[in-house]
Amino acid sequence: MDFKFTEEQVQFREEVKEFVTTEKEKGIFPFGNNCWMHLSSMEFSKEVAKNGLIGIAWPKEHGGRGMGYVDRVIMLEEMFRAGAPVAYHFMADRQVAPGIIHFGSDFLKKEFLPKIRNAEVCFCLLFSEPDAGSDLANCRTTAVEEGDYYIVNGQKVWTSNGHIADYGWALVKTNLDPAVSRYNAFSEMVIDMKSPGVTVRPLINSAGAHSFNEVYFDNVKVPKEYLVGTKDNGFRQIMTNLDFERAGIERLMQNSLTLDSLKDYVKTNDKGGKPLSQDPLIRDSIAKLEIEFEVGKLFIYYVASLLDKGKIPSYEAAMGKTFCTLYEAKLADVATTLMGLPGLLMPGSPEAPCNGMACEDYLWSPSYTLQGGVVEVLKNIVAQRGLKLGRKKK
């Protein structure tokens, strides 16, 4: 047990902090909550790239910095603390590049890693379908071989940033034999979102924002070299990938500005001449949030430290995401309640404290425990993989 950051890490954190502060002060980029899903700026991402902050955890031979996962959490902690608009490169950096490095051909590596590293392309994830939410094995989008191509047909949904992405990272069915198990029926591939036959239809979410999309594939031709890894092995590949997806601090900190603004609100507003921050009920509620936040953060670093040791944190990542998203789901609810009626004012409204951040966050909050694995599904994973429960006895 040694919770000390190395000197390099302390130094690195300062570097990132300085970078973020400088960029924020420029006032040209859209800093804010939900920054990894919702705040996309190619220009900002290019600055990130220039500062060597994309691909830090990739091996050096692939153009990365060969740093660790704890280092990556340090970087993201500072990015998210400020609400840096990382959405343009985030998915590619977190998920697509590691997938390509792990499973992809030399062609794919050469084709995409430099572009991702330099923030020249934006990727979206094409997993969920109308009938395949929690149950990915129910995906019906097909990819059928035809010469040098796969012909893709079907529909994806809840595609974040589908409308700005250059490429999609898709799960498709390549073995149509219904007798074949899920583990031998799917493949992963990269799809050029500008291909003929790709239609992106915006979905407005219940927070009133366009961040999701429906994506339709109508005989879309995908070159065979865009297949990632082994044909029909996609389900296994994606399961590994999901563990990485779930391990991140984005599940805890995408709304950390809300907690800041709440603290600020109760300190600068009073009731009957006393700051709200002196009210014991308010103090207790905010301390509860603070504690859960710190507990969650420690857990995220724990999962990252496992990754740095070369362990696959399959159930630990699921546990971490469960804990952190339950915190996230609560944060804006508590914040709006403690702020009272002003907490229910929306961005752009006169009188809205912190430009309606808490209220907007509340409207987004139902999504946190759904995205990237519904809490109940994650608990199944923890129970079955982690605690080994439910195996037939007797």
Partner: protein, 374 residues
């Protein structure tokens, strides 16, 4: 003890339900959320025609002297439909305050108009921090030449921008207390600014008062007693809002059960999963307990009993329950429920608002604590 509706109540409940099923549509609700007015004048007119506005007024003022239980059931239907309107602010926060405290002249002037749906009115009594506390009031009335000049700001005033009248609560310089003035909504010196709140763009207003003139005849009841008049209505408002919560929960429960029964994942409907079943039971428990609690408090109001405690129980319980029910609803309806095409978000927003209106859980629990001698 009978928890079931009698025939008349059943009729009120059914006809309210039918009315809103007919008048409400997802499209209309979505439009109203963006609409500057924030309510539908057509529906408002029809509500008036049904006699809802005057239900609680005496016959001599154009009312029907109806039962508060019927009123509560109408609110339940309103909550279930999610239809926004200036109903409560007009009928209780202006109408009943005038009926209970105003002079004969004021009653004759305002109540029949309200009963006929010809007058939208509202109450301005909160400061910009939105705290339900006399000390946070920001309006002041100065005595000038036998009249008054009112200045300052009031916020979170529902429908002030479309109100024919504004009942405003102002500190009077000549006394410790708060005085209520009934003003013309368009009186000189009144400026309304629409706030964009969680429930829409045309509901709440910030109202700035600049030397707005009022005569002693515009004072409702006695000068200096305004805050007590408002507090006297608190249980009725709390119960009415509780009933709205019950209606809202009822609808969320319907849509959620429907979804989990229809949605197939892992080869069976979601409702076959034990965890999903238990989440639905948690919703059902919130709904059933809220229903009884709200109805019981409504009955107490109707009987004329002191129900400060019961109303606070109902509001704290139903307000938090509705919010929890929308959260479970979201968790069970997933991405579909999180899209704007699904109606759930309308209720999510209403629930959050209703949780806070006229005091959140801890505010109400403080009332309960007072009432059990703590």
């Amino acid at each position: 003890m009978d928890f079931n509706f009698n025939e008349e109540q059943q009729m009120v409940y059914d006809s309210t339900k039918k009315f809103f099923e007919k008048e409400t549509s997802g499209t209309l609700l979505r439009e109203l959320m963006e609409d500057d007015k924030g309510y539908s004048p057509e529906v408002w007119k029809k509500m008036a025609e049904l006699g809802w506005m005057g239900l609680l007024f005496k016959e001599e003022y154009g009312g029907f002297e109806g039962s508060f239980l019927d009123f509560a059931l109408i609110l339940e239907g309103m909550g279930k439909s999610a239809m926004p309107s200036p109903f409560l602010s007009t009928v209780i926060l202006t109408g009943l305050i005038i009926q209970d405290n105003g002079s004969e002249e004021l009653k004759k002037e305002y109540l029949p108009k309200i009963a006929e749906g010809e007058c939208i009115s509202t109450l301005a009594f909160l400061g910009r921090k939105g705290l339900y506390s006399k000390s946070e009031l920001e309006l002041e009335a100065k005595q000038v030449n036998g009249g008054y000049r009112i200045s300052g700001a009031a916020s979170f005033v529902p429908y002030a921008h479309v109100a024919d009248n504004i009942l405003c609560a102002a500190k009077t310089t000549d006394s410790e207390g708060v005085t209520l003035f009934i003003l013309d909504g368009k009186a000189a010196g009144i400026e309304t600014i629409n706030l964009h709140s969680i429930s829409g763009k045309g509901v709440d207003c910030l109202v700035n008062f600049k030397d707005v003139q009022a005569t002693p005849a515009q004072i409702v009841g006695e000068a200096g007693k305004g805050w007590e008049y408002i507090e006297a209505q608190w249980p009725k408002v709390a119960v009415a809002l509780s009933c709205e919560c019950v209606g809202g929960m009822d609808r969320v429960m319907e849509m959620t059960l429907n979804h989990v029964n229809e949605r197939i994942q892992f080869g069976k409907p979601l409702s076959a999963l034990q965890v999903v079943q238990h989440m639905c039971v948690d919703m059902a428990m919130k709904l059933e307990t809220s229903r009884h609690t709200a109805h019981y408090a409504a009955w107490q109001v109707n009987e004329g009993l002191d129900c400060t405690k019961e109303a606070a129980i109902a509001k704290s319980w139903c307000g938090e329950a509705f919010k929890v029910v929308t959260k479970i609803g979201h968790q069970l309806t997933g991405g579909i429920g999180f899209s704007e095409e699904f109606d759930l978000f309308l209720y999510t927003r209403n629930a959050k608002k209703l949780e806070l209106l006229f005091g959140d859980g801890s505010f109400q629990r403080a009332i309960v604590a007072d009432n059990i001698g703590l």
